[in-house]
């Protein structure tokens, strides 16, 4: 999918990030370790075949098919991406002969072989785009799909590479060996029928000395499944090695880190929106792909619905654009709630200038944009720094992942929350070595951050570090505190910690604090001051609407819709949609002037499993006649009756289409109800 509509124009970096995203290079990076392991496994697995050793032991061994069990996790929807990049990696490093099999294509061994050979022969054609078309013309449909023909094919292919010109041979052998293995990937191992798998394994193990076959099982659940699917006699033919891909949670963390926690990426998610996305991920599907989709939707919605999103781009561009804003766009800025707040905080002459002069507004906007940018840079560094601290604490009062901390900070002033309070208290009890490592990490973060204000901070932190150093030299004084320190380390649960905390508080009155304790207090206080300075929630910032997307309801509506509830509402409370006073009614009841289908629906709710159509019609016409009132005079009553009848038929058949009722064979003139709710 290519994103080329307004996004590209509005902010090239957004687009480039997005396109990177769409192609999921991030995922590839994540799986690099896994792929490296796999590649080395594949190289190892057929070295014997390579060397063409004819020893007896080797032959014994070669009854076994080398197999990689690839545990991919429950997020099935992401597997395709992993496989796609896997095939790329293998093609580049190991072998051109890769076949991907899916359970739905392989109901039987015959089908499986057909699919397998089809893919292998195609990839043969792809790899050396050779001129011998006639060979290709022998389409795989007509080839008898058997193991022997597969072996014949393999021999002919490898021979061909042997007989090629030396120069060509060298190039090819740099990438692949002379006889590269044939890799067969079972994408969804669990859904294959056991018989197919068993047969295939048994057959191919018979030919393993002629055909260097390697199997890869894609597993979503646990490696145990191999043994429950395959009996011992079959699984003993496999030489299985286990590989674990990164968990989906780690994927998510990386993606959040790479996209949301970067100052260079101008588009930001508001707290609610981020929460919705994470909830969908955690409670619905664990699918990174869906998270990305939600993120894309946010971007689209933001640029579509927020007029000031013009300015959502890199600072340099944003300033340029702010300079060339039209009058209408200036008005849009003036309408922003955050901007209004800002105006109110100014002196009166400035207020007037901001509200009337476009040029002055533009200047201010540029200044504010810069402020916002600086805020982001600082925010992220301090956030990471705080995360270093909180992730060391027992029970993680502010969350284990940085995304939780991020959410907490976005939501409101984090230092006012109870969790923050307790984590500070816990931080005041950290031991020295932990504190020192944390401080070092923080220094690294600040040094590498792009914010300019942190020179002092770095110095201050370094000073703390040297003070700790000095403390170490004057170690003998610390006997007492060390012992209490040890006590603390032993008891890690919160209850005991709090208890000791209280005790410490008590004792503090009587006991003079040691130097180390004083220093620790200083450090924690300093971190606290950083947090209060820099982790102000984004919605307190002027012009935050430009960068932050906050309408979570849109997201929920389009990604996590509830069609059944919508139907229920429409049928029970048509006034919600049709704004007519006549339809207004109390909760739970319905006006008798409601649309036919609503009345019919309401009536059928009073019935049991079977509904008598005649009773139903009778009841319906009672209601409708009452609603129509006196104008239905007796003369045309026959006509009216017919019309009501027809309306009833329509409404009932609509209910059938919606799946509330179905025709019943049990009794004539009855229909069966299919739902129970909504009474």
């Amino acid at each position: 999918a290519t994103v080329y509509l307004p996004l590209k124009v509005l902010s090239p970096p957004v687009f480039s990030h997005l396109s990177i995203f769409l192609h999921m290079h991030i995922l590839e990076d994540l799986n690099k370790q896994l792929f490296d392991n796999l590649v080395s496994f594949l190289r190892r697995s057929h070295s014997e075949f390579q060397e063409k050793t004819t020893e007896w032991t080797c032959r014994m061994k070669s009854k076994e098919i080398p197999t990689a069990a690839l545990v991919l996790g429950v997020n099935v929807t992401d597997h395709d991406l992993t496989f796609r990049s896997l095939s790329e990696v293998l093609q580049n490093n190991i072998t051109p002969y890769i076949a991907f099999l899916e359970a739905k294509d392989c109901p039987g061994v015959k089908k499986l072989m057909q699919k397998l050979m089809g893919q292998l022969m195609n990839c043969y054609v792809d790899v050396d785009s050779s001129e011998d078309e006639d060979y290709v013309q022998v389409s795989h449909n007509r080839i008898r799909c058997s193991m022997t023909s597969l072996i014949n094919w393999y021999e002919s292919v490898t021979k061909k590479t042997d007989s090629e010109t030396p120069s060509k041979k060298r190039t090819s052998s740099s990438r692949h060996w002379q006889s590269p293995p044939v890799v067969v990937v079972f994408k969804d191992m669990e859904s294959f029928s056991t018989k197919v798998l068993q047969d295939f394994i048994v057959i191919s193990s018979q030919h393993i000395h002629e055909l260097p076959l390697v199997l890869i099982f894609g597993i979503a659940t646990s490696p145990m499944i191999i043994h429950s699917l395959l009996p011992h006699s079959v699984s003993s033919l496999l030489c299985i090695e286990l590989f674990q891909s990164l968990s989906c949670k780690d994927h998510l963390s990386t993606i959040i880190d790479k996209l949301l926690l970067r100052a260079s990426f101008p588009f930001k998610l508001g707290e609610k929106v981020l929460q919705v996305l994470i909830n969908i991920f955690l409670y619905h599907d664990f699918s990174v792909q869906n998270f990305v989709k939600g993120f894309q939707l946010c971007i689209v919605e933001h640029f579509c619905s927020q007029p000031v999103s013009v300015l959502c781009c890199q600072l340099v561009d944003a300033k340029k654009r702010a300079d060339s804003l039209s009058h209408d766009q200036c008005e849009n800025i003036r309408k922003l709630p955050s901007f209004r707040r800002y105006v109110e905080s100014q002196v009166s002459e400035k207020q007037i200038a901001l509200l009337t002069e476009d040029t002055y507004l533009k200047e201010t906007t540029q200044k504010l944009l810069e402020d916002l940018h600086v805020y982001h840079e600082n925010y992220l560094s301090v956030l990471r720094c705080l995360h270093v601290f909180t992730s060391f604490l027992p029970k993680y009062p502010l969350g284990k992942q940085i995304r939780e901390l991020h959410c907490a900070c976005l939501e409101n002033q984090v230092w006012e929350t109870e969790e923050y309070e307790s984590s500070l208290q816990l931080a005041r009890m950290l031991n020295k070595s932990d504190l020192v490592t944390m401080l070092q990490q923080c220094v690294e973060i600040f040094v590498s951050s792009s914010g300019k204000e942190f020179d002092n901070t770095v110095e201050k932190l370094k000073e703390f570090l040297t003070q700790f150093q000095k403390l170490e030299e004057a170690f003998q004084e610390q006997d007492v505190s060390v012992s209490s320190q040890k006590e603390l380390q032993k008891k890690t649960d919160l209850y005991h910690l709090q208890k000791t905390l209280l005790e410490l508080k008590e004792s503090r009155r009587y006991k003079k604090l040691t130097k180390f304790e004083m220093l620790r207090f200083d450090v924690v206080d300093y971190i606290d001051s950083l947090v209060r300075n820099y982790l102000v929630p984004a919605n307190h910032k002027t012009l935050h609407e430009i960068a932050y997307f906050n309408t979570a309801s849109v997201l929920r509506e389009h990604l996590n819709a509830a069609p059944r509830i919508a139907l229920h509402t429409a049928l029970n409370n048509p006034y919600r949609y049709l704004k007519n006073q006549e339809l207004k009614s109390d909760e739970g009841s319905i006006s008798n002037k409601a649309p036919d289908i609503c009345i019919v629906y309401k009536l059928h709710l009073e019935c049991g499993r079977l509904i008598n159509l005649v009773d139903w019609l009778e009841a319906f016409s009672t209601v409708v006649m009452a609603a129509e009132g006196p104008n239905a005079d007796a003369a045309s009553s026959d006509q009216v009756d017919d019309i009501i009848h027809a309306r009833f038929i329509r409404a009932v058949s609509e209910l059938e289409l919606l799946g509330f009722i179905k025709p019943s064979k049990q009794k004539t003139d009855h229909v069966a109800r299919l739902t129970w709710g909504g009474c």
Binding site: T77, L297, E618, M625, P630, R647
Partner: protein, 528 residues
């Protein structure tokens, strides 16, 4: 919430009511411009932004989503019902205040008195209830049936009908209609050079069409005539509602192009809405309309119309997956190919199957195929598992329209149309008349046997062997091969159904209710 409101107003104030088509053209031009845009043209970009703003108009529409309803209300437990409750509710509703109750008071209690009476009787006296029911049987559908037989001459002259069938070009493309109009864009000259596929398609589907049109024309006609007399309630409000949805069209286009697919849900027919979308946004692009509610639509026909009419491929495929593979390959090779697929009722009987959903999902995941579909059934979301959902890449839109499902309920799979039985009868006679005398005899045998067993509730059907024996004895067939050939023909016309019993024996059934069958035999006898 207030903020949202303000934002919404801002959006509205920006958006000048622009002509929708103009807007789309604007976007297109805009896309082309993208390629050679430099930073200096910032001013121009900002102007273009107006288009985007107009595109957006994030409607925080007043109807929102019904998320205020708790799950317990929608999915509650079954509660025991009294039989008279419906009538009680009806009378209660009939007397709700706010009505001019006084004049119809004389009529109303009478009516309500009648309804409980009947149900009371049903609970007390079973035998009497039987009789009563019989009467009812004749009243309800019969009234309908009588009305339906009125335009019968139209049906009787079936030769006339089929002649007119091919001329009815407009209506004939009901099932799958492809519109190719690429004259304006040079990239699509290939598609444009072929004659518009409408005719070929119509011809090919003529047979199917006829079946469909019968039910549509004949049955619904009377129903429609009647319903036309009854004015649509709350037309103004419904129109307002629809206009709200129509404002989303440009946004849909944008999102389709961004790789999402769109699914519409909510009460009311979304056919007109999608049709409007097609007319306003898709006139200039290649698009395919699939009427999922059509009873004889198949996955194959959808795929065929893509390969034959969009890709101009002549040839057949062994299986839908093969065909799909071909389509995907073609779309990958040629990046200029674009196709919009509109599916009315993606959750219909015929497209509901796991396999067809899988293939449609895979189709929709092709980057240059844009799918916009509607669903109506309450359980429609259960069709899709995680894998399919991620292929479909849906964006959900609630489009409650309250429009009547006119088209969707007018085919023979609809409940009340089916029950009247006259369609089945007419199609029986219609089909049988075109068969040989022997074939008709074979069918008569089966029908008679079924009628003889009509009181047996566990009648499985006539087993093939017995049937063959009987046919042989009546000198209708001379080998079981001829019988099988005959049965295949019946099955193609949906005259019989076969099912395997527990013992593996094949049983034959005529899927028509007994009274219709009796009527049919009577008529046959008259003919002879």
């Amino acid at each position: 919430d207030l903020f949202k409101h303000i934002q919404n107003q801002i959006g509205k104030s920006i958006k000048v009511q622009k002509n929708k088509t103009q807007l789309m053209v604007g976007v297109k031009r805009f896309v082309k411009k993208l390629e050679n845009i430099s930073d200096d043209e910032a001013q121009e970009i900002l102007e273009e932004k107006n288009y985007v703003a107009a595109l957006g108009l994030c409607t925080q529409d007043p109807m929102g989503n019904g998320s205020s309803v708790s799950g317990g209300e929608v999915y509650s437990f079954q509660t025991p019902k009294r039989s008279s409750k419906m009538a009680e509710l009806a009378s209660e509703l009939a007397q709700t205040p706010g009505q001019s109750v006084a004049p119809d008071h004389s009529e109303c209690p009478e009516k309500t008195a009648k309804a409980p009476q009947s149900s009371k009787r049903s609970s007390s006296d079973k035998v009497q209830q039987r009789n009563k029911k019989k009467e009812f049987v004749s009243t309800t559908p019969y009234r309908l049936r009588k009305r339906l037989t009125a335009p019968d001459p139209y049906l009787e002259s079936e030769s006339e009908y089929s002649a007119s069938c091919s001329e009815e070009d407009e209506e004939d493309q009901k099932e799958v209609s492809t519109v190719l109009s690429g004259q304006k864009t040079p990239a699509k000259t290939k598609a444009a050079s072929t004659p518009p596929p409408r005719n070929t398609l119509a011809k090919k589907n003529k047979n199917k069409m006829c079946e469909g049109m019968f039910s549509d024309n004949k049955l619904s006609q009377t129903l429609h005539d009647l319903l036309k007399k009854a004015p649509l309630a709350y037309a103004a409000e419904i129109k307002e509602l629809n206009q709200q949805h129509e404002r989303l069209f440009s946004k849909w286009m944008l999102q389709l192009h961004l790789g999402f697919n769109i699914v519409l849900y909510g009460l009311g027919s979304k056919r007109d809405l999608l049709e409007k979308f097609r007319i306003s946004a898709l006139q200039e692009s290649v698009h395919l309309v699939v009427n999922g509610y059509f009873p004889s639509i198949t996955l194959r026909s959808i795929l065929n119309s893509i390969t034959e009419d969009v890709l101009n491929h002549i040839g057949t495929f062994r299986s839908p997956p093969d065909q799909l593979e071909f389509i995907i390959k073609r779309f990958k090779e040629d990046s200029s190919l674009e196709l919009y697929v509109l599916i009315h009722n993606l959750d219909s009987q015929m497209l509901r199957g796991e396999r067809s959903q899988q293939i449609l999902a895979q189709l929709s995941s092709v980057p240059s195929i844009y799918l916009i579909a509607s669903i109506d059934h309450i359980n429609a979301p259960l069709l899709w598992d995680q894998a399919k959902l991620s292929l479909y890449n849906w964006l959900w839109y609630e489009t409650t329209t309250f429009s009547p499902y006119v088209e969707e309920t007018s085919y023979e799979n609809s409940l009340l149309v089916q029950q009247s039985g006259s369609l089945a009868l007419s199609s029986l006679t219609h089909v049988l008349r075109s068969l040989t005398l022997n074939a008709r005899g074979i069918f008569r045998l089966l029908a008679q046997y079924q009628l003889e067993n009509k009181d047996n509730p566990s009648y499985p059907g006539l087993s093939f062997q017995d049937f063959y024996q009987q046919c042989r004895e009546a000198f209708l067939v001379n080998s079981d091969l001829t019988l099988r050939a005959q049965l295949t023909e019946f099955r193609d016309h949906k005259l019989i159904r076969t099912k395997r019993g527990a013992d593996g024996v094949e049983y034959l059934l005529i899927p028509v209710d007994d009274s219709t069958l009796a009527d049919f035999l009577e008529k046959e006898d008259e003919d002879l």
